[in-house]
């Protein structure tokens, strides 16, 4: 397990930001939302297993993907259930992880004690193991009944298998398939400050923080700090948040948010026609996804640059397979070696939208799609809903003309002649057409079917001439920042932010502006907010506040 004293991503800049804190508005009060269960994402599952048992454990296979809700898988996690086939996968993962965790190679680092005999039960040692591991897996100490059960199972297992570690394996499988592990549980206790109202237990608060900032469960130190009340007061919490933000592990947290925000789960099913795009390969899929994330991480973590400049930045990283698509040289053409790269000033590429990741993802397998790209910009990056196509369109009017039209702009122009189509296509197409110089995998082209591509257009009234111009218009569009703020709020709260959350989202938005659109500072404000921990009384709970049961 890694502590939180790592390399410093933020140090100095954070204190500078603190100096400005005086002019930032105060966080508005929040009523919170009812406690909920959030199913772990596949990445969180992997991170937790690596943290608890070591990075050498392979998590074979993966569970069913979460379903996106209100633009985020993190919101879907609060609604996700476990289907029979999905449970089978979790169960198989549990068996595989448990077997590896107590294997000869790993037991020394995983099990904190040595049994009297490796061939028989040793309740004392098993207890030490499950107290330690159980607390990390359930994100709180095990309740007495929980501990008793797992010890009994481990004892039975050890006796039958004549193997102490085999017994631990039996118990571990049981824990790893439990909802207490697979779901992050908002455990509640009475709020001493507000009689009759619940609040999150210190452990549940630690879990929210850790999942937000590091995309994993709280580690031993954080749980212990929480246990000692470190998250009860503002000062202690600030100390913890700043230490967590200073750790290199914050990269996993920021990465997870942007993967969700940018809908990068779509890369898992991304395919391109191999005849039309021979330069596209499985490696390109991986590299294109990673390129965008590296660009983002460098921008918001290393440079602490203005979030908006992500849409204009020329600063990125490339591999050999990407260099080929960008048609630029690289000294490391083979494998997936990453080298920093800066697009020259006169290069038509600038900003995230012109990277292969975006261009290829929002395209068809054999061609670009201004409509898909426009929709991705509107929905993913500006948080604007593009209505679905009406169900009763007669496409006949487009088809015959399509074949004669040389460029996407000409083809799509036909949609504007149909009122039913024009309404939505005018939302998506003008901005999508700005990226037409990038083909279905993001290779630059100046013509389509011999006709010079016109990439000009407007975004909400701001004119541009090309993809870089669209990037500038995106940079200056107020929705660009309000969208990332709203999504980060929803992401951290695990639910769609609604009207009652508006003051909080507004507060974050104003703070973001005052912090010069420093994303890490925004993340810090969320992590320090009261809203992150606010809960409303549960709806329809049969036994109300659960404090008694959860204390060991």
């Amino acid at each position: 397990m890694s502590g939180w004293k790592g390399g410093s991503h933020v140090g100095v800049a954070l204190s500078a930001a603190l100096a400005l804190a005086a002019c930032v508005p105060n966080e508005p009060p929040s009523a919170g939302a009812p406690a909920t269960l959030r199913r772990l994402s596949n990445d969180q599952y992997r991170n937790i297993i690596a943290d608890v048992f070591g990075p050498q454990i392979t998590v074979a296979g993966q569970a069913d993907a979460l379903q996106r809700s209100y633009g985020l898988l993190a919101v879907g996690a609060s609604k996700a259930e476990i289907t029979p086939s999905g449970y089978e996968k979790y169960y198989a993962m549990a068996r595989s992880v448990a077997r590896q965790a107590v294997s000869l190679d790993n037991r020394a680092s995983v099990v904190p004690c040595t049994p009297r005999s490796a061939a028989e039960p040793d309740e004392n040692c098993a207890q030490q193991f499950f107290v330690k591991v159980g607390r990390l897996l359930y994100r709180r100490p095990l309740a007495p009944a929980e501990l008793a059960l797992v010890l009994r199972m481990a004892g039975e297992g050890a006796r039958l298998r004549q193997d102490f570690y085999g017994g631990l394996e039996v118990g571990l499988v049981g824990m790893l398939q439990s909802p207490q592990f697979l779901f992050v549980v908002d455990t509640l206790e009475p709020d001493p400050a507000h009689a009759g109202k619940p609040r999150l237990t210190a452990y549940a608060r630690a879990a929210r923080l850790s999942l937000l900032l590091w995309n994993t469960s709280p580690n031993e130190q954080l749980l212990t700090a929480a246990e000692h009340g470190a998250l009860d007061g503002a000062a202690g919490r600030k100390d913890i948040v700043d230490r967590m933000l200073s750790s290199p592990r914050v990269e996993a947290g920021v990465r997870a948010f942007f993967e969700d925000f940018l809908r990068f789960d779509q890369f898992e099913t991304l395919e391109k026609d191999s005849v039309i795009y021979p330069a596209f390969s499985v490696r390109v899929v991986e590299d294109a996804r990673e390129q965008v994330l590296r660009t983002v991480l460098k921008h918001v973590l290393d440079k602490r640059a203005d979030y908006r400049d992500l849409f204009t930045t020329r600063d990125t990283f490339i591999t050999g397979s990407l260099a080929r698509i960008y048609r630029v040289p690289t000294a490391k053409p083979e494998g997936s070696a990453w080298v920093p790269y800066e697009f020259p000033d006169d290069d038509p590429r600038a900003g995230l939208l012109t990277e292969v990741g975006f261009a290829a993802l929002a395209s068809h397998p054999g061609r670009s799609s201004p409509t898909l790209r426009g929709r991705a910009i509107r929905e993913n990056l500006l948080c604007q809903k593009v209505p679905d196509p009406p169900g009763n369109v007669d496409f006949s009017r487009f088809e015959s003309a399509d074949a004669q039209k040389k460029t996407a702009r000409e083809r799509l122009a036909l949609h504007s002649t149909n009122a039913a189509c024009a309404g939505c296509h005018k939302i998506t197409d003008p901005i999508g057409l700005a990226l037409e110089n990038l083909d279905g995998i993001g290779q630059f082209r100046s013509t389509e079917n011999g006709v010079v591509i016109d990439a000009s257009g407007t975004l909400d009234g701001v004119p541009f001439n090309d993809a870089a111009g669209l990037g500038r218009a995106m940079r200056d569009n107020p929705a660009t920042t309000s969208c990332v703020v709203q999504r980060l709020a929803s992401y951290s709260l695990g639910r769609n932010t609604t009207g009652s959350d508006k003051p909080f989202v507004d507060y974050l938005g104003q703070s973001f502006a005052r912090d010069d659109y420093d994303f890490l500072e925004l993340l810090r404000r969320v992590a320090l907010s009261e809203t992150l921990f606010a809960v409303a009384p549960p709806v329809g709970a049969s036994s109300g506040v659960q404090t008694a049961r959860m204390e060991p």
Binding site: S85, E156, G157, V173, D273, P389
Partner: protein, 457 residues
Amino acid sequence: MSILLPRTITRRRVLRSVLDGAAVTLALPFLDCALNGNGTALAASGKPLPLRFGTWYWGMGHTPGHAIAEKAQTGSGIGFLEETAALKPLADQLNFFSGFGMPLDGRSNYTHFTGWVGNRTGSVPQKEGEIASPTLDLLIADTIGAGTRFKTLDASSAGIARENYSARSTESRAQAEISPVALYTRLFGPDFVDPNAGTFQPDPAVMLEKSVLSAFVEQNRDFSRTLGAEDRRRLDEYFTSIRQLENRLALQLEKPVPNEVCVRPARPAEPAPDKLAQVREIPNVIETHAIMAKLLAMAVACNQTRVFNMVFTDNFANVRKKGETYTHHLLTHTEMIDPSRGYQPMAFWFNQRCSEAFAAYLATLASIREGSGTLLDNCLIFAASETNYAKLHTIDSIPVWLAGKAAGRIKTGLHVVGGGDPITRVGLTAMKIMGVPLRNWGTKSLQTSKPITEVMV
């Protein structure tokens, strides 16, 4: 086989120790839950063969006027045209349903979504992505699915696990197996108990595993009681899932009925990397589909499941032909109609592949002899798309097939004309045939209590 216990431990020892351990209920005898009165028993035992239900999905409907000849009223003779020619040899195993409607009650037609949801759940979605009622395969599985290792199986050759058309609700949508090797491992991997293996010894490791699960389930129920109502409801699905695994383990402890039809198939080869990168190219889709069809058919014959869902291509038909810039889906909307042929030639080409794949699927089921007939004779396969004519996104007259003889419970060879009746009449008919105790099915204008008696025996 279980990882939890080496096979050297005796069953008696496990029973003794687990029971000594107290607080753990070992659900014996397993036979009670493993077999229900509806069928069971296999050819070797001389008892009736079980009835099975499957669904088969393809995207983009068909080409009206070129797939099935229009009919004014219900009658025998399906009227196969060029697009469905591959199905002609299977005419005596098929019924075709046309002219059934999907009234929306003022809701939107979410293109390529509303159609399959209405058809399979009887409820039209109110918003994109919403699945308000369970799909019919799950209702049927609730009735006939007990006593098999898998209550339902879901496989897809379309390469997208999420695009599967079996769901209890929006949040509880089963994901399909998209890898033939993974499907094989799940069905015929180490946990498969060969019914024809001469000797059977209950695996004590499995007994231990099952007892551990049971113990944790009890504790997790306590945990569940501390949650809010909505979260409790969400966990119900989790408990259902565990129960299915428990049943599966229970079956592994039970001596299987010998079944001469059941032969563990060969493990499919790992696909080559270039194929893995092009899973949605039509030849690869067809190949995957053929492998999966064989695995599913044998899984059904081996009584691993009685309800099985296969997706050939997904509802957005994200499949393509090498070198063609348009996918099947895009072609249906943009390709010109060839005036001499009267249809979109490339879209038609894809539709034809879908008919061929369906024919191949049925032929695979029919290739397994069972009793005096074939596996297909003991199946009912509900096959449908999400649209009638994809070019226009029409959801009236969505093509639906019922295939197989359902152990003699269905008449075949008919083209049933719906005359605008709700399409749920077809689903209700299928469920009635499968013995689901339903008086009516569907919501709002899709509600119906009238099965199609013309096809019922």
